[in-house]
Symmetry: C2
Subunit: 356 residues, 2 copies
């Protein structure tokens, strides 16, 4: 993978890369990603929210509007659910020409155990009226996009919003949400790219018309050209990533390994049908062999995999891994370009040097 | 601030920027930086350490070598100390030509409350022998630099190692160290740039000769040319940073504010003599006025400051802030270049638009 010479990273992209952060890939070793290693994308600023005065407002096209404090939400039935979350822009910086936004390589992923209350019973209490189409989730973070000041907002269809696994979460990995993950409350939409899981949630509005806001209609759609309607991003495409083996060279991150047997390990996920196979190649994708795949810790969380490699000859190798899900969807060897740089699940390529 | 056209960010720098992360500047609002928002630079990989088998070895030019388990360390006298830590490379990406390494802009800082045991009594128990010169701290993280595989290692002079405030820490902000901050044990050298605070500490070795390893002799020195000996980096230069006011435009991060009175806030620090003044300019540094400076939460932690600005006319403004310490050291208006891109404490410049 390389950045095209004609295509240098701009100050604007660097500003985003310095604010946001990926998960260093050695952290694939943890079934649950420790806080601070989970990827993080903040569109605007992390807002300061006073939990004492904060309330979740539920309204719009409903029988009765609700207003709930954090204590009232925490007193409801709650569940813990491990969820693998990935940024829709993961892999963007490997596209050529490179779509200009947060320049992710491969690290925009993490798995956390969220604790929260299912959304569905809350919507049922509010009473969704006939004719409802979308449910809009409004964050407390504000910024300017397309010259308009706005809150970060995303919608789900009523059918998607009523799925059992959709949560309003106040805890990550057994701790109160830290500011950067949406304190005091966030939406978690398991199986979907991260843009759906609105942080710093302030308001839920049931709409009798399709939501047409910036993050729904302009951003997060697969398009080849600007004036195309495009396909909205929803569920995570299958992907396997490996822990880069051996030791890194500081600047190049090139990996150096000793001769001999070596266990290659990683995680694999898919937001739709579960992952059914992971394969490894040590020759840049010419030949593949099955890796051993473990049961995932939950229906929406990544699976561990391992592959025993006998690195028996010194030299240069290109390690690749790929996942396939139960519906037959896999990963392309070469990245598929789109205007926003979304959903690039091309196989990871890790060049390694086996030293004598 | 701009990146020179001739000077594009490379894939290698982007790989580092995607792994490491700064503190989004709105997090200057927190006296203690929440875990996950504190800056993080990992030279090699975050190592997996088994705390049950881990021990700290203390040896070298001492009367008696020591070997301590984590429980034995935790049973020693311990203190909590808030410490502002900053990467020596903070500000590197604003230099022209840009030294190639982790491309920090301004965000490589954070303040944490570390809990740990003072180093000095431990060294006294081991008994430093006459003729000792340096104390070497060896991390468990390994990588390749200058073509040599090595552990991350840094030394302190015996005098610096025996300072009261130097800690061996196992907790950050009241929690066990997460993997990325040095689990199970790290060195904390208050007042110094972050390279001194070795993470994943495995061994302390008292030396009867100066330590000449890569991170001491080649890296982390102020130099204009390669073959110069250079001045080693030690204590943080004074710096003030502000919370960027108003709301950001997503890509440019340009700030938009409403007309009217506005409180500008931030933090200021200095690793040597304490900060005695912070000044604000709203005209790009032509005129300055004193900000109100609060007492810091500790001798090695940043101070809050605030400045009331009456943004009474719409238009474009360039906000700047600068700190000065008790020894008279301040911040330059323009960055001072050096080969490694270290210790660039040029004043922060935040362009803002006041809308009618």
């Amino acid at each position: 993978m390389a950045l095209a010479d004609s295509d240098e990273i701009t100050l604007e992209e660097l500003q985003l890369a310095a604010r946001n952060h990926g998960m260093p890939l050695e952290a694939l070793r943890y079934p649950l990603t420790p806080v601070g290693l989970h990827y993080l994308l903040t569109h605007y600023d992390i807002p300061a929210v006073d939990p004492a005065s904060w309330r979740l407002e539920v309204g719009g096209h409903v029988e009765r509007a609700l207003s709930l404090s954090l204590d009232e939400l925490r007193a409801r039935r709650h569940v813990r659910l491990p969820v693998t979350m990935e940024c829709a822009g993961n892999g963007r910086a490997a596209l050529s020409p490179r779509p200009v936004s947060q320049p992710w390589l491969l690290e925009a992923v993490g798995t956390a155990e969220w604790r929260g209350t299912p959304l569905r019973p809350l919507l049922e209490e509010a009473g969704i009226l006939a004719g409802a189409v979308d449910v809009l989730f409004t964050g407390l973070d504000r910024g300017v996009e397309a010259d308009v000041e706005q809150a970060y907002e995303r919608s789900l269809s009523t059918a998607d919003a009523l799925r059992d696994e959709v949560l309003l979460a106040w805890e990550i990995n057994g701790e109160a949400l830290p500011p950067q993950h949406g304190f005091p409350l966030r939406l978690v939409v398991p199986g979907w790219y991260g843009m759906a899981s609105v942080k710093w949630l302030g308001r839920i509005t049931v709409l009798d018309h399709p939501y047409e806001g910036y993050q729904q209609r302009s951003a997060y759609r697969l398009r080849q050209v600007e004036d195309e309607d495009g396909e909205p991003l929803t569920r995570l495409r299958p992907r396997a990533l490996m822990v880069p083996p051996g030791v890194p060279e500081f600047m190049s991150r090139r990996r150096i390994l000793d001769l001999g047997p070596c266990v290659l390990e990683g995680r694999a996920w898919s937001g739709g049908d579960p992952v059914v196979s992971v394969e490894m190649s040590t020759d840049g994708g010419s030949t593949w062999a099955a890796a051993e795949l473990a049961e995932p810790p939950g229906a929406f969380a990544w699976s561990a995999w391992r592959f025993e490699w006998d690195a028996s000859a010194p030299g240069e190798y290109m390690l690749c891994c790929r996942a396939r899900n139960g519906a037959g969807a896999g990963q392309p060897l070469e990245a598929l370009w789109n205007l926003g740089g979304y959903a690039n699940n091309a196989v990871q390529r890790v060049p390694v040097t086996i030293r004598p």
